[in-house]
Symmetry: C2
Subunit: 407 residues, 2 copies
């Protein structure tokens, strides 16, 4: 007998029929003898509508009120799923964040879970009652107000609940059936992975494989919660996200990812003196613009340098404006910007013990005539920036080069 | 400086624009120096949609879950109105039932308010903060679950809050601008009343003038809460519902009402023996069918009697079936039913001290050739059942006869 947390996202509970379908999946788990807590999102579209109401009401709004409003979507799903379960003869009750309670800090709109009280939940789970918990929300206890974890926070709710309940597994049901070696829409030979490490999943999550929320993976890694990503529409195992020790045969490279949300800025002939980087990146940080890849090339003379970096594509216009406003201060000769770039990354914990992974990447791209504009590396990842027109070709070529294609 | 409770129903908060309009009305009251608590309903249509979801999920459902689901509609409105008020520079916060808390009994779906904790509300009202309270809901404290007061319960929430806060007035904003002497759509000369007594309002409310929920009037009468019914779309005084002592010049008749939700059943030649009434009305009560007017005529012989009574029109089919199923037991000769009847009532506390009110009614109807089928009376009301085709004629004639027409 295991204790598991099952989480169902917005598309899995989009309407009453899908909620009934979810109830049948939960019933199957209960009949297998498991203790089950379920975390649910709002029905697809509901949260957007509520956010829309808020934005139409006022341009600037109290985030405590925003939280009280948008949290209602999850409450509705939780109640409906409890009813659907009871209708199948499965004892169940719904739990809103303040009822559990899921205690958070006071950062309304993007709160962090501090603690989950589980005494009563554990007692009821042991009696065979399914706990249907509204995701994405908690209680800020000082002022007794509803808080939300920010968009997509139901994944985090589920992992946090699994950690608090010391659950054997946290199953995240979604509209894909697992984590793939690459984007199956682009790479025909992409394979579903049986297992992946937390570290790899973190890189995947932050690089555009939008399967799991980054924060939920961080939390799973911290509390060693075994997470499974699987489809709510199919009855087969998904991908287990686990500790490295659990994976016996580590692949050198687990996946090749593509992020199109990239734009490049180059500053030519920046005076090469101390403090110049701070002068450039300070104003960008003040404008809440995240800078990702950075390379500095020695320029034509020793007193100047060329600086290239990337920002999210949607931030490019603002970034260019911020830098233009500071142009006099920076003293660069010219600014070039390019939104037609993508980032390709190869990811794998096996890299740590295998040399030549980066070299293989460069060689493969070179053979296809693809120019690498920027390179960054981490312990388990190599990323390159290339022209967008080569995106699919690069992804497919690397997938084949690292031997990831399904047979 | 007064302390007032303002209540806005579903059509008054139907969309964001109307919620902003409500915020401006509240701001006006705050600027006049009043302490203001606001009670809101769900946006028009929202509760029906939630109820629909519940019914689609299961035929029989846990009312505790139903309550948790449908209460979310009011929570959304409360948050949005708080934001709209803040946007106008008015300090405000929303309060869900469990936050106040509004303590109710455990009769989920039709809970009764037992107590409202107002210490914190009073403190904040005194500081000039508007309390926006979600109507229709409370907290069942034993199991820490959300309860609802049943459909239309926001009126009751408002009156209960006004009583608990010892408010000077409870203003119920709705889509009509007050209580009329009769239905203005039928009676051209119908006048808006400046004041009406609780007792009269109770009769009006239960007789189809759907302005105020009956329970809210009962509660206002019990706690002597001065209630004003007025339009949220116009800027003028409405009708005050107050204690009889507050009305100096009482009118003999305050209003003439029409209820079309009537149907008549006549049992011919029922054996006239003890227990026969119980044998007839017992099964109807068991089937949750309310019987309203009852008359018993002596029949052709002393051993039989004719019995006529009314039920709600929607219950007629079931009532006939229940009686048919018991036909053998009842021993009547025939059963006649008629759904084409209406109930006309004249209402006024002045009746107590004035004779001839009923007589004037019978005479007026007789002069128009309208046959009276059933009569019932109470201390402040005379009701008659007539054929539906005469409904408008009867209403207009009586309105004129009692001198209620506007000049």
């Amino acid at each position: 007998m295991a204790r598991i947390v099952m989480k169902f996202g917005g598309t899995s509970v989009a309407d009453v029929d899908r909620i009934k379908h979810v109830a049948r999946k939960v019933k199957t788990a209960v009949e297998a003898g498991d203790q089950v807590a379920v975390v649910v999102s709002a029905m697809a579209g509901v949260t957007n509508q509520l956010v829309d109401h808020v934005r139409k009401t006022a341009q600037l709004y109290d985030l405590r009120e925003y939280d009280a409003i948008v949290a209602s979507g999850e409450n509705v799903t939780a109640g409906l799923l409890a009813i659907a379960l009871q209708d199948l003869g499965v004892p169940a009750r719904s739990w809103q964040g303040w009822q559990v309670p899921v205690i958070t800090d006071g950062a309304h709109g993007a709160a962090r879970i501090e603690r989950i009280e589980t005494t009563e939940l554990r007692r009821r789970l042991a009696q065979g009652e399914v706990a249907v918990v509204a995701g994405f929300q908690g209680l800020e206890p000082v002022r007794n107000r509803i808080s939300t974890l920010g968009r997509g926070g139901s994944d985090t709710s589920a992992v946090a609940l699994a950690a608090a309940l010391e659950a054997d597994r946290c199953d995240i049901y979604t509209d894909v059936d697992g984590v793939y070696t690459s984007d199956p829409r682009v790479v025909k030979g992409a394979r579903k992975l049986d297992k992946i490490t937390y570290e790899e999943m973190l890189e995947m999550a932050s690089l555009g494989a939008k399967v799991l929320q980054t924060r939920s993976v961080e939390m799973a890694m911290k509390h060693r919660v075994r997470v499974q990503v699987l489809s709510s529409f199919e009855d087969k195992p998904g991908t287990l996200v686990v500790d490295e020790d659990e994976i016996v045969e580590k692949e050198v490279v687990s996946g090749v990812t593509l992020s199109r949300d990239e734009a490049k800025i180059t500053l030519r002939r920046v005076p090469d003196r101390p403090g110049v980087a701070a002068a450039i990146f300070g104003p960008l940080a003040d404008a809440s613009i995240n800078v990702d890849m950075i390379v500095q090339n020695t320029g034509a003379d020793s007193e100047h340098t060329d600086l290239t970096f990337t920002v999210q594509r949607g931030d490019l216009g603002r970034a260019v404006k911020v830098l233009s406003d500071n142009a006099e201060h920076l003293g660069h000769a010219a600014m070039l910007s390019d939104a037609n770039v993508v980032k390709i990354s190869v990811i794998g914990v096996g890299m740590r013990s295998h040399a030549g992974v980066a070299q293989k990447m460069f060689k493969t791209l070179s053979e296809k005539g693809i120019n690498i504009q920027v390179i960054t590396t981490s312990e388990i990842k190599v990323s390159v920036l290339i022209a967008e027109e080569y995106a699919e070709l690069a992804l497919r070529s690397l997938h084949t080069a690292y031997g990831l294609d399904s047979v």
